[in-house]
Amino acid sequence: MHNAEKTCWNCPAAKLKGNIDFRACGQSMKKTLDEDKEIVIECKRRPDLGHFEPSITFEQCPEWRKTKYGYLLRDMKVMILGIDGYLGWPLALKLAKLGCKVSGIDDYTRRDCVMEKGAHTIIPIPKMTERLHVAKEVLDVEINFRRMDIRDFKALREFIEEVKPEAIIQYAEIPSAPYSMVDLDHAVEVQNNNVLGTLGLLWIMKDVVPESCIIKLGTMGEYGAPLTGRPLFEGLFPSDAVLSWDDREWSMGGELTPRDPVSFYHCSKVQDTFNVYEACKYWWLRSYDIMQGVIYGVHTEEIAQDERLRTRFDIDEWFGTVINRFVSQAILGIPLTIYGEGEQIRGFIALEEAMECMVRLIASPPEPGQYDVVNQVSGIYKIRDLAETVSDVASKEFGLDVKIQRLENPRVEAEVHPLEVVAKKLPQRGFKPTVGPDKEIARMLKLLNNKVMRKRIEEKKYSIMPKTTWSGEKKDSDVLEVYEPGTKQKTGYEPRFHTK
């Protein structure tokens, strides 16, 4: 088990009580966490242990039980902010099935934003009240839900005080680069919701649940795609990284790596990174910043149990992620749209894999004060190669006739660049990619390639093509080229990926 040797030091049930200096028979209430002195804790779950040092391992502690994702705190209280979303809902069901006490908030921002843009989720999803009812009926799980804007800090504080969550998943952000580039109002709303929501949450955690871990969704897009090919480490430079200049050298180990966001949405994620990083430093909070790759897919074990448990599936230019969009285009016979050269390389992860990663991280909290970062990707691919993969699966397994089109790029981004990604921390926590694009694309096509779903895609097909440009102009992108899959030579850079 990857987390067997983690100890109370990592456990959210451990309440820090201060330091004792046995050399001087002295006690200090100052929570310095000075490891040279004895750090004294109480266990909120095992008060009979009195005061003790935080060194009982998860393997030794009866409160941590074995699951296939590692040791997991018995009845762990996990709060998901943004529980109604594409990720929030499947994660809630997975955790609840694992025995966690799941709570969550949502104010349906995602539903509203998609509706505002005239789009809809291709996979119909019921209202939250029905979702909760079906979860109980089908999976026999209870989820404690409150309708709430994350920025309603009074209400959020009250809910956190009531639940006392042992892990908090921060999904309550508006996850769209194009949406943040629509106009002034949209850019402000994205940054306001994302940055201030997370900032408020940090202050509340400091006051109410400082031992809880915040697992906050960031994005690989925070790093950008450096043209030098510099590797994208997991948020912080490794201990052997060195800056060399003017015949001198400095160790970079442990410093934040450069960020180069590619939209105002990505800027909001970068600001979050700094806010979370500082909160860990000032208040001994602990966090995982999840630099998630581009997400895709429709499947987890839990949402597959009943059609009413499915998660949303967006294909519009603002909220549809690239593989999800390609699959919908393949079903309708619209040439798959790649932007510019299509040589952009990105990290990707299937929904099912992302959910597994989240559980593994929840099971493995960082130490107090630790700001940790994981690159949550299971593979890195070129956009044009993924278009080929979707075409291949769609034609060979589903008999669909697929073409690919290159559009004038509405974004300001490098279209041809190297990319080298380091993603070792999740494999260290036992994660092995088992899905991959081929398998999940086939699942998506199987679910969506039918009359009902095709009709729903057809109704919103106009929303797929990009009209939001980074220049601020509102215009359709010109088609540069349409071509048959399998007709292009491999060009450009090869993705480089380190998992060991």
Partner: protein
Amino acid sequence: MNGNKSVIVGIDGMPHQMVEDLCKKNVMPNLASLLDEGALRVMKSSTPAVSSISWNSIITGANPGEHGIYGFSDIIQGTYSMCFPNSNALKKQPYWQTIKGTHVVINVPATYPVKKINGCHISGFVSLDLDKAVYPREIIPKLEDINYHIDVDAEKGHKSETLLLDELFKTLKARARALDYLWDKYSWNTLMFVITGSDRIEHFLWHVYEDEGHTLHERFLEFYSAIDEIIGGINNRLNEDDGLIMLSDHGMERVKYNINLNTHLINEGFLQLRDEGRGYNKIDEGTRAFALEDGRVYINRKGQYPRRTVAPGQEPELKKEISDSFKTLKIGGEQVIRKAHFREEIYHGAELGKAPDVVLVPNKGFNLRGKLSDSLHEESPLSGMHNPQAFLYTKNVDDSTIADNPTVEDVIKLVR
């Protein structure tokens, strides 16, 4: 006691020799005049000489084998994690739970969390939450008003000697105010009041005490004069027939070196560590023994610890092997260990099974530590370390039942 009021004044860590010295130098004139009215004895502390063991023996009259407290730290059953036993782990009741009457108890170490009492109880070091350190809780606002602190912040002692002294005086003053308040508030039969700043000042500044030319020497002595004023005040308020007991829980002496016992156990092949794990979780398969603070050596027994090694039949021979090994340990030509006790030689009672298997008593100046360290001996950041030479003073108390060389376990006979 004679049926009148009884007061027990504790001065944590004050050695018998220091009582005589400071009385002779007129630093503590009230105490000096009391010596003429009562009896002063050397009292043997607990083994090891640690406040949590010693005070619990004083208030219960029990041996550690009976009351179950063997130090500030212990190991949680089935793990290698250290816990810090508190009053919930105490297996014998303190006198204020067994003797009829109203009792006021102020700042007795290792009595946290407090329990319901006929009277009032403010526990001493280690007390991490004031609301669990005070009974009844109604007096907490008054304590906060007088700026009462359980202890000085030990952190400050490491930062600055003068800052520590300032804090010690402030804490003592507030404690004296609490004494005045509670003395009058309750119509009590016994009152126990412990000063713990004495132990802190001696740990940090023993070198200042020994060096009469030190710039802080006079200030050091002033602290004991301040204690003496409190003693004088108490004595003035006692009626002629009221009993007075004054005592310490252990003595103090100059540290030469900190000795990391586990390093010796590693060097001699008793202890093996692995890279993983925090603290004692580094203990690996193949380990036969490991040590905690203050000279306590434990056998890594099958059935008791996770990566246990030693089967029951092997224990007697192993204990002898450990004892012999430590008896040969020398630093700078000096023998470190004066005596190695097997647990059954010094402890008795229902809690004997939790006792350390071998208890090492050091020669003068060797401070026995349980740290996992690469170096066998280190300079100590503190200048004072405990020794067993505590003191006991009695006035108007029937002390006919105790020997001339009492131990901490005898004190209860005076209270009864």
